[in-house]
C-alpha cells in the first residue's frame, strides 16, 4: 500500500466515487436477488419500494405523515432547546445551583427516555403531544450538557479581558460566553436533532394515528412490507436531511474556527 506511486488526485477522486457507487449497487443487487429468492412479501424489492415511495409522495400521503413526524420533532426540539441552552448560561455565576442540579441532570441524561414513551402516552394521549413530550425529554438533557460543557470550557482570560474593557455582566454573557459556547451547543444539537426525530418515530410505532411510525405499524399489520420500507425510507431521509442541515449551519456559523477534523459521531 505504501510502495506503489500514487495516481493523480483527480483519478483518486473518480475511483473513490466509483467504489462508493459500487458498494451501493452491490447492496441493491443483493437485495433484488433476495427479493426474487424469498419473495416480495418477505423483503419487498428495491424497485418496489422506490415505486411505492414515489407513488405515496405524489399522492401527498407520505408527505403528510412525514410532516406530522417532523412537526413533533421540531416542536420538541424547540421546547427543550431553549431552556437547555439558557439554563447553563444563566447559572454560570451560581455554581452552587448547578452543583445542586447536577445529580438530577445526570440521572435524567442517563435514564432511558425512550422507555418512558408509554408513560407519556398515558399522560398526553396518543396524539402529537405525547410524541412532542418524548422528544423534549430526549433533546433537553443532551443540549443541557453540551451547553454546560461549552460554558465550562470558556477561557476565563477572555472574560477577564472583557471585564477590563469595562463590559457589564450581561454584555459578557451575550458577547463572550454565548459565542464561545456555540460550538459545543451546536455539537449538542447535531446529536440531539436526529435522535429527536427517531424518538418521534418510535413513539408513533407504539401508539399513534398519524406519522411515519404509524405508517410503518399499519403497513406491518397489513403485511405490506413495501409500505413499511417506504415509510422507513422517508424517516431515514428526514434524519439525513436534519444532519445535513446541521452541518451546513455549522459551516456557516463557525467560519471563524481553525479547521477541525470532525469524525463520525454516535447517533440513535
Amino acid at each position: 500500500m505504501t510502495d506503489t506511486p500514487a495516481p493523480a488526485v483527480g483519478a483518486i477522486r473518480w475511483r473513490r466515487l466509483l467504489d462508493r457507487v459500487l458498494v451501493v449497487a452491490v447492496i441493491l443487487a443483493l437485495w433484488q436477488l433476495a427479493s426474487w429468492h424469498v419473495g416480495i412479501y418477505w423483503v419487498s424489492s428495491p424497485w418496489g419500494v422506490t415505486a411505492r415511495f414515489a407513488e405515496m409522495t405524489a399522492s401527498g400521503e407520505l408527505i403528510r405523515h412525514a410532516g406530522y413526524t417532523l412537526a413533533e420533532a421540531a416542536a420538541g426540539t424547540l421546547i427543550a432547546g431553549v431552556p437547555a441552552v439558557l439554563l447553563p448560561l444563566i447559572l454560570r455565576r451560581h455554581p452552587v445551583l448547578v452543583a445542586i442540579l447536577d445529580p438530577f441532570m445526570i440521572g435524567g441524561y442517563g435514564a432511558p427516555k425512550l422507555a418512558f414513551a408509554p408513560l407519556f402516552i398515558v399522560w398526553f394521549g396518543i396524539g402529537m403531544e405525547s410524541k412532542i413530550a418524548l422528544v423534549v425529554s430526549v433533546v433537553f438533557f443532551i443540549v443541557y450538557f453540551a451547553t454546560l460543557n461549552g460554558v465550562r470550557a470558556l477561557d476565563p482570560k477572555l472574560v477577564q479581558t472583557a471585564q477590563i474593557l469595562g463590559a457589564s455582566e450581561r454584555r459578557i454573557a451575550r458577547h463572550i460566553v454565548l459565542p464561545a459556547a456555540v460550538p459545543s451547543i451546536f455539537a449538542g444539537f447535531r446529536i440531539a436533532v436526529p435522535y429527536g426525530i427517531a424518538a418521534a418515530v418510535i413513539a408513533e410505532l407504539i401508539s399513534a394515528n398519524r406519522g411515519l411510525g404509524f405508517l410503518v405499524q399499519t403497513g406491518a399489520t397489513n403485511f405490506d412490507t413495501t409500505g413499511v420500507f417506504a415509510a422507513i425510507a422517508m424517516a431515514t431521509l428526514l434524519v439525513q436531511a436534519a444532519i445535513w442541515l446541521m452541518n451546513a449551519l455549522e459551516r456557516a456559523l463557525l467560519r471563524w474556527r481553525p479547521p477541525v477534523d470532525a469524525w463520525m459521531e454516535t447517533g440513535p
Binding site: D19, I100, A115, V122, M264, T266
Partner: protein, 271 residues
Amino acid sequence: MTDATLPIDDAAEPAASRKWLVYGGRVALALALLAGWEYGARALGPLFFAPPLATAERVWTLAVSGQMFADIAATLRVAVAGFAIAGVAGVLLPFLLRRSPRATEAVEPTVMFTMGIPKYALAPWLILWFGIGDMPKLVVVALVVFYIVFITTFAGIRGVDRRLISMARVLGARERTISREIIWTSLLPFFFTGLKIAFPRAVSATIVGEFLVSTQGVGRYIEGARQVSDTTGVFAGVLIALALVLIINALVNAIEAWALRWRPVEREMEL
C-alpha cells in the same frame, strides 16, 4: 512605614459550608419532587398519576412474586446477547477495514447513511419474519449497539497518531504487531467509552423493543399495563426500568474505574 489602612489578607479557600449547601439543596430538591409527585397523584387522579405509595407497593409485590426478576432476566438475556454479538462485530470490522483505506472510503457513506435508519422501525417487519419472540428485539438491539461500537472504535483508530505507526513500520513491525501494540493501546480509552455507553443503551433498547413486540420482559410489563390502563403498573414498571439502567450504568462505570486503575490510560474520552 507600616501600612495601617488595610490588613494583610491570609484568606483560606472557601470553606466546607458550600458543600453542605449543595447537599442540602439536593435533598430539598428531591423532597420537592417527591412532594410534587404525591400532589400530582391527588390532583390528577390515579389514572394519570399513580401515587408514590401505591407505586412502591406494586414494585414490592412484583419483587416478592418473582415476576420482576423474571422480567429483568428476560430483558437482560436479550440485551447481553445483542451486546455481545454486535460488540464483537463493531470492534472487529474497523480493524479489518484499517487494512484497506480504499475499502474504508468506499464503505463510509453507506455506513453513515444507514446509521440514520430508525432501527426500531424495523421491529414490525422483523416480527413478520421471526414472530413474536426474542429475535426481533435481538436484531434491533444488535443494530443499535453495532453502530455505537463501530463508530467509536473507528474514531479511535483514526485518532491514533500516524507518526507512531510510521515509526513502527520503519522499525519493520508487521501489520499485526502494529494493530496490537499501537492501535489497540491507543484505542483503549475510546473502546471503554464506547462499551460503557453501548451496554446501558443495549438494555434500554431491549426495553423499548419490548414495547413493540414481546411476551416477556420489563418493557412488556410496562406496555401491557398501559394497554389495560393500569397506571400504577406503568409507573412501577418505569421505575424498575429506570433503576435497572442506572444500576447497570453505575456497574459499568465501576468496572471501568477498576480496569483503568492499573492501565496507563491518560484521559477519559467524552462523547
